[in-house]
């Protein structure tokens, strides 16, 4: 499954970039995220609970960042194991473009699922993934749009 999209975020590019690298922000914004820990400059460990169709599972996964070009872009690769629910893995190329005071976030994502997720939930994967992506960016936008957050982040970046 492939997915592309773009979102306008009401915050400067530096602030958006910082937030995208902040496990606390990610944990707050990723739907169903129970834990998020930065294990190195370019990797995170996460636990996420998701329900896709009839399959509900707790995924433990590792996210690695590559091609990091602050504050413009990175490539994110992740893989999560959900026990008998199967596995999910995927990646996304994320690019940030400044547009005045706002930032345009563009992404191209690909995902693959296996095991019970594929068997029972394949038909729901696309719509669920789109819904989750939209929810993430809504949360993310909301977080950064709070002026004090954005200012704080911006200040921290400078």
């Amino acid at each position: 499954m492939d997915m592309t999209g773009e979102f306008r975020i009401g915050a400067p590019r530096e602030a958006v970039w910082q937030a995208l690298n902040d496990p606390a922000v990610l944990a707050a914004c990723i739907p169903g995220c129970e834990a998020m820990e930065k294990t190195s400059d370019s990797s995170f460990e996460a636990t996420v609970v998701q329900k896709i169709g009839p399959v509900k599972a707790r995924f433990h996964g590792i996210v690695e960042l590559e091609n990091i070009r602050p504050p413009e872009s990175y490539t994110l690769n992740g893989e999560g194991k959900g026990g008998v629910a199967g596995f999910a893995r995927g990646g996304a190329d994320v690019r940030l473009e400044a547009d005045g005071a706002d930032t345009i976030l563009l992404y191209e994502a690909r995902a693959q699922v296996g095991g019970k997720l594929a068997r029972l939930g394949s038909r729901l994967i696309d719509s669920t993934a789109k819904k989750l992506a939209a929810k993430f960016f809504d949360n993310f936008h909301e977080y950064l749009s709070k002026e004090d957050n954005a200012e704080e982040k911006s200040a921290a970046a400078s």
Binding site: G53, P54, G83, V84, G86, F87, Q112, V113, G114, G115, K116, A118, R119, L120, S122, R123
Partner: protein
């Protein structure tokens, strides 16, 4: 015919328990000390097993053991085998890869078991199975047979280079090429036979018990052939010697072929029972069934059918790729060879046929026989090509068939089979009349007024049943003989038990077999019991598949009845002081013809067992055994006519009429036979219009539930109009041909021929879903014409 004998519509004796919820199935078996198995199944289609961490699962309360492949191999449990050796055309043996009941180094399809958990409850076992950490190193996977043959494809078994299991041929290629070169017209097609999941109503199940004192195993299992299961478990998997292994297949809720084979789960349960000292039960859930029951079909074929200027077939050349999945299941090798290519002559007199078959490993669940087994694939190919050729030649499809029918029997085809009897034209004519084909044009015009497309499709099928003479199948590579056995016990009170090696899992043997006995001795049906399914009770038998129970199983019973009758007459002649030749059996009595001297049937039984007054030298008792080895296959045949309406706006197809005329030989119980036809046609409609197993590019099964795999429902199927025009099979005592698979064989081409007739384009693959039909219409530009 008596009201309960051969030809009577007797209601099924077994249905009282089945329809009131009192059937006793494997999952109903409750052993003392019973534990439960749950399998740890691979989520990957192809991966190396780097390690298995059992510690978390083992630590869970209620977990008895966590067992893995290397432990199973270390205990000497053998690999699962394919029991039919097919030789490639270059003389090399087939490349059978190793298949351990629990994976050792690699998993090769999604669902392949890497470990098993034995626990105090099913729920604990399943939870613990989630806690077993298997370290998989994923490998590239391939699910499509043609891609698995391509250069650079992932290699699935080391000893099958290029994933090729065998490259087999039958027939004379040079002669066929020459015939096609000289043909006036050649019809060419590429045809896919879609992959199906068998879906018996009862999922597979096993309960294994090891007795350490006697060193004896008992296995209750969902099997179509418990004796074959015992033989294979003993001889190849080295579980136990046959005398230390009892296999019981109690009530079984449908099989369709999928319960012929010995699967990893039964072997694992037996072994785990020995390891843990507990009875071990496993019952598949529907999701496991989708990913572990052997699938059916999955052929891709290109073919050329050549005609002379008089529309007579001159040659038929076929090239087939068959997807075998990740391992070779028990009869997998025979399905696309001896059960497929040998039927490519159809009902037609064809002098030259050549067929090449490549069998291929892929990272999918193993593929084996499914209702029809090779014959649906052959029939679909032949009958789609005949209908297409008729359209290309501009002749009536039925007339093209008529022009090529075999009319003299016996008929030797160029592909092994020798048809013994038949009247193909009688069935075609009967079906044409019953379907009111003469009135089709008027119905089509009426449909057109409503803006819908009406189409008519034909299928004149032939199949081969009863498999088959043991020496013949042996010469073709079968590892077993395919005879059947019977024992008829007349008790001292005159009631009768018949022990048969056939197995009933929906076929109604308890009724139909008893009717044959009732007919023979003019006895009430209730005094006759049919016993099957237990290796401790019943003598060795070969089980039920290939529509063989009537043609082969009943023939064995008839042979045993012959012996019983001879002994009864000897006893009665002795007691009544008459000649054996004058003894007749009727109305519950054994009489001297033309006199009032008689003894009750039960008195003969009593005499045999008291043995107070038997002829000089006669052994006491009244029990006879027979083994019957068929002289040939049997050849059921017939014509099916399907009439459809297609809504060009939506592609929705409705079957308006479905007419069958079958030649099944002698029919014991017409009601049961019609039920078999109804079920087979429903499965054929399922294949033609609804069902399709789909794997994605990574080998993930994405039709793993009834959300995505569509089974036919009541509103998908029409009322069937079923007729018979029978010839008698000359090769067995009752003249039976078999009826279990015909519906699933004859139906798919009739349906697709009807839909393609309606939409005016031939470019339509199964399953013809509304989307597929609509897309075909759009692609052909014919959708406008309908408006």
């Amino acid at each position: 015919m008596t009201d309960q004998g051969i030809g009577a519509r007797v209601k099924r004796k077994e249905d009282k328990r089945f329809t009131t919820g009192h059937g006793k199935y494997t999952d109903d078996v409750r052993m003392e000390n019973q534990a439960y198995a749950a399998f740890v199944r691979s989520p990957f289609a192809h991966a190396e097993i780097k390690g298995i961490d059992k510690s978390a699962a083992e630590a869970m309360e209620g977990v008895i053991a966590v067992l893995t492949g290397p432990e199973l191999v270390a205990d000497g449990i053998g690999n699962i085998i394919c029991g039919w050796a097919v030789t490639s055309k270059d003389g090399s043996p087939m490349n059978m890869g190793a298949w351990s009941a629990l994976a050792t180094e690699k998993v090769r399809y999604v669902g392949d078991a890497a470990a098993v958990v034995i626990a105090e409850s099913d729920a604990i076992a399943r939870r613990a199975a989630e806690a077993v950490e298997v370290d998989y190193a994923e490998l590239p996977a391939v699910a499509v047979a043609s891609k698995a043959l391509a250069a650079g494809a992932p290699q699935i078994h080391d000893n099958a280079p290029g994933n090729l299991i065998y490259d087999w041929e039958i027939g004379d290629e040079a002669a066929t090429d020459a015939a096609l070169a000289g043909a006036a017209h050649v019809t060419e097609m590429e045809i896919t036979n879609n992959r199906l999941a068998p879906n018996p109503m009862e999922p597979r199940s096993a309960v294994a018990t090891y007795d350490p004192i006697e060193e004896h195993y008992t296995l209750y299992t969902t099997s179509q052939n418990p004796h074959v299961a015992r033989l294979v478990l003993s001889a190849f998997y080295q579980v136990a010697p046959e005398n230390k292994l009892r296999v019981v297949a109690p009530d079984v809720g449908g099989g369709f072929g999928s319960k012929i084979y010995i699967y990893p789960e039964e072997i694992t349960c037996l072994w785990a029972s020995m390891k843990t000292g507990r009875s071990v039960k496993w019952t598949s859930d529907r999701s496991e069934a989708f990913m572990t029951d052997a699938h059916g079909r999955d052929h891709v074929t290109t073919a050329k059918l050549g005609f002379d200027a008089d529309n007579r077939i001159v040659g038929f050349k076929v090239d087939t790729i068959a997807n075998f999945g990740a391992y070779m299941s028990l009869f997998s090798s025979a399905v696309p060879t001896y059960l497929y290519a040998t039927l490519l002559s159809g009902q037609y007199d064809i002098a030259n046929i050549h067929c090449n078959v490549r069998a291929v490993y892929t990272n999918t669940v193993p593929v084996d026989a499914y209702r029809g087994a090779g014959r649906p694939e052959a029939c679909y190919l032949v009958e789609r090509m005949m209908e297409t050729a008729a359209r290309e030649l501009g002749v009536e499809p039925t007339e093209l068939r008529r022009a090529n029918f075999i009319r003299e029997f016996p008929h030797q085809t160029p592909v092994i089979m020798a048809y013994d009897a038949g009247d193909f034209e009688a069935n075609l004519d009967q079906a044409l009349a019953a379907a009111d084909v003469a009135g089709f044009a008027a119905r089509k015009a009426e449909s057109a007024k409503r803006g819908v497309l009406r189409g008519l499709g034909f299928s004149s099928y032939i199949e081969a049943c009863g498999i088959a003479p043991s020496a013949a199948v042996g010469s073709l590579g079968a590892g077993v003989g395919l005879w059947e056995s019977a024992e008829v016990r007349v008790n001292a009170v005159g009631t009768i038990e018949v022990l048969t090696g056939s197995h009933s899992h929906g076929q109604g043997h308890e009724t139909a077999f008893a009717q044959v006995v009732a007919d023979r001795f003019d006895l009430p049906l209730d005094s006759i019991s049919i016993v099957h399914g237990d290796t401790d009770t019943v003598q060795m038998g070969m089980g039920t598949y290939g529509s063989r129970s009537g043609a082969v199983g009943l023939s064995a019973i008839v042979k045993a009845l012959d012996k019983v009758e001879a002994k009864v007459k000897k006893i009665a002649a002795h007691v009544l002081e008459a000649s054996e030749d004058d003894i007749v059996i009727e109305g519950g009595q054994v009489k001297v013809a033309g006199t009032d001297k008689a003894m009750g049937w039960h008195e003969v039984g009593l005499s045999a067992y008291t043995a107070h007054n038997l002829p000089e030298g006669m052994e006491p008792g009244l029990k006879e055994t027979a083994f019957y080895d068929p002289a040939n296959f049997t050849f059921p045949a017939g014509t099916y006519i399907c009439e459809v309406e297609v809504d060009p706006e939506t592609g929705v197809t409705k079957i308006e009429r479905f007419t069958c005329s079958d030649d099944f030989g002698t029919i014991i119980n017409p009601m049961i036979v019609e039920g078999q036809v109804h079920g087979g046609v429903a499965q054929g409609i399922g294949q033609a219009m609804l069902e399709q197993v789909v794997y994605d590019d990574d080998g993930q099964l994405i039709t793993g539930s009834y959300m995505d795999y569509t089974m036919p429902r009541a509103d998908d199927v029409p009322f069937y109009d079923v007729h018979h025009a029978s010839t008698t099979c000359p090769n067995n005592p009752l003249g039976i041909k078999g009826c279990g698979e015909a519906g699933a064989i004859g139906t798919p081409p009739a349906v697709i021929n009807a839909i393609t007739d309606a939409i005016g384009t031939n470019d339509l693959a199964m399953p013809a879903t509304p989307q597929a039909v609509w897309s075909a219409l759009q692609a052909s530009g014919k959708s406008m014409a309908a408006e």
